[in-house]
């Protein structure tokens, strides 16, 4: 499944840092698809290969979830709507009247709510609801809860049960002011307040995962019927009225889940469904047909994502640098791209091209990502490592093309002399399984789609914070950690070279074997206005842009 599950849950460790910070959002050029403005109403069906973990934005942080919550739960800020590509990474005010004011050396942010905002049930939105939503995120917990608990003052104490509220957040319901105090300057906090998981919820919302109903939202759509894991219906919210944000065209949007991605693609091709969920890979077998029969309603859109294999650094054989380097030298990124139906642009770096700090693939140290693998060097490194014959269990997902990545990677390990076997895990529980502290897996597959346009979002995957559920290989490099903690305080544009150097440092030390950045398919039925539809790098399909012809 191609669903890029991105449980951001960074973990932990409270980062101590100094310096000013500013919004990390980048504004860059992008196309603005044109709505005809002609068609409103009707029902649009999205054919998706994977369901979100929950209908509750307070728990789920998968790409599937973000896609849905982006029109259900409107936070204080949001990523720019109606524009395709990297231009959609610009942060704009949503419930907040304007972008926050920063003070106290980058440690305090102040937001002011717009007046007369309402939830979909008509209840007025109050400033204190934001605090309640963040507390709920920590308690449930939200998969990205550590974004709040680790960086907002008092977050850790609340998470540990030592405080009854998050002391770093103060609100005034009368004036609509929300003041957020951080433990240290943290530039990505602005991006975090643009994530649907931080959107306010009514104070009577239960402090538990509402997987089957979702919460009362404040977005252009509200939840209709939900059959968890199978279908999620969104209906237009007549009470939504936030200046500058689109209200959506379709009356009803049905997000239908069928793990047979080939069937999903065929449904869209045959106009039985309207949108092929871009988080899924268009199967190679149907791609020629799509390209031939669906010209004018299919396009591959670059996104900020990285696909990689991670190494378990705390145990044999990948505690050995030469063994890791040998694997990277033997990887054929072109082969992996073919497994992804040609949607990958080959690269060994973690930071993708659309993000500040991206390095050119030409600087990849062990082999040219666009060329053949260097088996001679790989075998020499293997000899040097002394790890020939070592048993290795490789972890991967069960859905195409991820299982095929696993088959390929295992065959590469075996060709180098490891005794590699596969451990195929169901896609729905893959990341939680490999992230379990009790497992400590040897090596496996991973991917990452940006949460927000900041290199920190990618590089934090290998931060050596104790208990990180994303650092599957338990990388813990003092230089890496300290550089990361310094760089995130600054606007990434001003320190792009240093981010690039950090990425190169990790590649050279073979902490991960990144192999490419993916394009997502924008593929609609004949019934939709293709040019009006937006494939957002933040939210995948921007459902407010979908309109029937």
């Amino acid at each position: 499944m191609k669903r890029l599950i991105m449980p951001l849950a960074v973990t932990g460790a409270v980062v101590v840092a100094l310096g000013a910070c500013s919004s990390s959002s980048s504004s860059s050029s992008g196309s603005s698809p044109a709505s005809t403005g002609a068609a409103s109403g009707g029902t649009i069906t999205i054919a998706a290969g994977t369901a979100p973990l929950s209908a509750d934005q307070g728990l789920d942080f998968t790409t599937q979830g973000q896609e849905l919550y982006s029109v259900i739960n409107t936070p204080l800020l949001t990523f720019k709507r109606g524009v395709q590509g990297v231009a959609g990474t610009q942060i704009v005010p949503a419930l907040a009247q304007s972008l926050p004011t920063m003070s106290n050396g980058g440690k305090t942010y102040t937001f002011t709510l717009r007046p007369n905002l309402h939830y979909s049930d008509g209840t007025a939105i109050k400033a204190s609801d934001v605090t309640y939503a963040l507390e709920r995120d920590i308690k449930i917990p939200w998969q990205a809860a550590s974004f709040v608990s680790a960086y907002v003052a008092g977050g850790t104490a609340y998470a540990d049960g030592k405080a009854t509220t998050i002391s770093g957040i103060t609100t005034n319901d009368a004036t609509g002011t929300i003041t957020v105090n951080l433990v240290a300057p943290f530039a990505p906090i602005v991006d975090i307040f643009a994530l649907p998981g931080t959107a306010p919820v009514p104070p009577n919302t239960p402090m538990k995962n509402l997987a089957g109903t979702g919460t009362i939202g404040d977005g252009p759509y509200k939840w209709g019927a939900i059959t968890a894991g199978q279908s999620y219906t969104l209906v237009k919210n007549s009470k939504f009225d936030v200046p500058g944000l689109p209200r959506g065209h379709a009356d009803t949007i049905v997000y239908k889940v069928n793990s047979n991605v080939l069937a999903d693609a065929e449904q869209v091709l045959n106009n039985q469904a309207d949108v092929f969920d871009p988080g899924d890979t268009l199967p190679a077998s149907v791609l020629p047909q799509v390209k031939a029969q669906a010209t004018g309603r299919y396009q591959a859109i670059p996104t900020n994502s990285t696909f990689y294999f991670w190494f378990g650094l705390t145990q044999k054989p990948f505690n050995n640098l030469n063994a890791r380097q040998a694997v990277i030298a033997a990887l054929d990124d072109r082969a992996l791209s073919r497994l992804d139906s040609g949607f990958l642009s080959e690269d060994c770096h973690l930071i993708p091209p659309g993000i500040d700090g991206h390095s050119s693939p030409s600087s990849c140290p062990y082999h040219d990502p666009n060329g053949a693998p260097n088996m001679t060097v790989a075998k020499q490194l293997m000899q040097k490592s002394g790890m020939i014959g070592q048993p290795v269990t490789v972890y991967g997902e069960d859905r195409a093309p991820r299982r095929q990545y696993l088959d390929y990677f295992t065959s590469v390990l075996n060709s180098l002399g490891f005794k590699a076997t596969e451990k195929v895990i169901n896609s729905g529980v893959y990341f939680t399984t490999i992230g379990a502290p009790s497992l400590k897996p040897q090596v496996g597959w991973g991917d990452w789609v940006q949460d927000f346009p900041n290199p920190w979002d990618f590089m934090q995957l290998f931060a050596g914070n104790a208990g990180s559920s994303l650092n599957y290989g338990y990388v813990n490099d003092a230089h890496y950690n300290s550089t990361l903690n310094t760089l995130y305080q600054s606007d990434p544009k001003t320190v792009a070279n240093q981010w690039s150097a950090l990425d190169q440092y990790a590649v050279t030390n073979a902490y991960y074997a990144a192999y490419g950045h993916e394009e997502f398919p924008k593929f609609y039925s004949d019934k939709l206005n293709f040019n009006a539809g937006v494939l957002s790098v933040e939210y995948q399909t921007d459902m407010t842009s979908l309109e029937l012809k």
Partner: protein
Amino acid sequence: MIPEPDSGPGPIEVVAGASPGGTSGIVITPGERVADPWAEGHHPPAIGPWKLAARRLRRNYLAQAFLVLFLLLVVVCLLAPLYASDIAHIGPNANNITGTVNVGGKMVDVVSPDGVPVGPTFGSHYFFGADSNGRDLAVRLLYGGRTSLLIGAVATVIIIVFGTLAGLLSGYFRGVADMLLRPLMELIWSFPVVILGVALGTALALGGIGPVKGNSLFIPAVIIGVVYIPYLGKPIRGEVLRLREQDFVDAARVQGMGPWRIMLSEILPNLSSMITVFVPMMLAYSILLEAYLSFLGAGVQAPNASWGTLISDGLNYIQTTPTFSLIPGAMLVLTVLSINVVGDGVRDALDPRAQVRVRT
């Protein structure tokens, strides 16, 4: 010990359905009048039930044809390593995504840049085409056949051994043994086979069984074996319950034989024809269930191939290259069909009530 017929008292004429002294193993068409073989000192040559069954089987040409087909499939699958090393020159799990292959004098990508694998070349390399990882499907088909047959065979052994044991213990001892074994068999029996197999397969593929890793072929074999044990155990139990009341068993008890000896030397031989009939049936069921489980991802684990995994993998290309699924499907059908026809032949040959004229 098979009960011997009583000796005939003198010349009589017998009519089918009334053979003297019980089961002689010779079956006569109903209504047919034959000379009494014991009349006037004429004693036919002794003929055992197995010899008789073999004779009957030899006359069943359909069963023989399918037996040859089955053996042919087995031999072809056993020769997989030879095919891989000397003809295809690639192993079953070797990826060759960026390689090329000669098709009609032109070198083409084994897997195209947009991920479409080459179809059947009908040459030495990629005879049936490649999968998305550039693996030779013909090689994987043969290796997959070995896997399917091996799992089927091991599962059948498990079913026969443990099903017979459970039926014997439950039926002969009754009491506590029956109270324990019967509900256990009923419990397994009550689950839909595929659902139980998928549940066990999914769970055990992760953790394995003790020292046996989750991706071992032994796991699906054990699962299939366990799931089908009641299918043999229950009929065996019923037959043992009947046999243990027979005179020859009482006679054995009177002679001082212990229960284990009675079970092994008196009852078990009387179950042999029943077990023999079950062997091909269970083999066919096991191969089919392995295919179901592997198709659903709960049987043979990647990167190993079986016919079930190959059918599943081929579904992605069902519209463009249907042979990817159809060929392993055809192999599966032929194998199971041949086992079933041979099994029917064995059953007919061993059935004492079969309507087959036998010349002595």
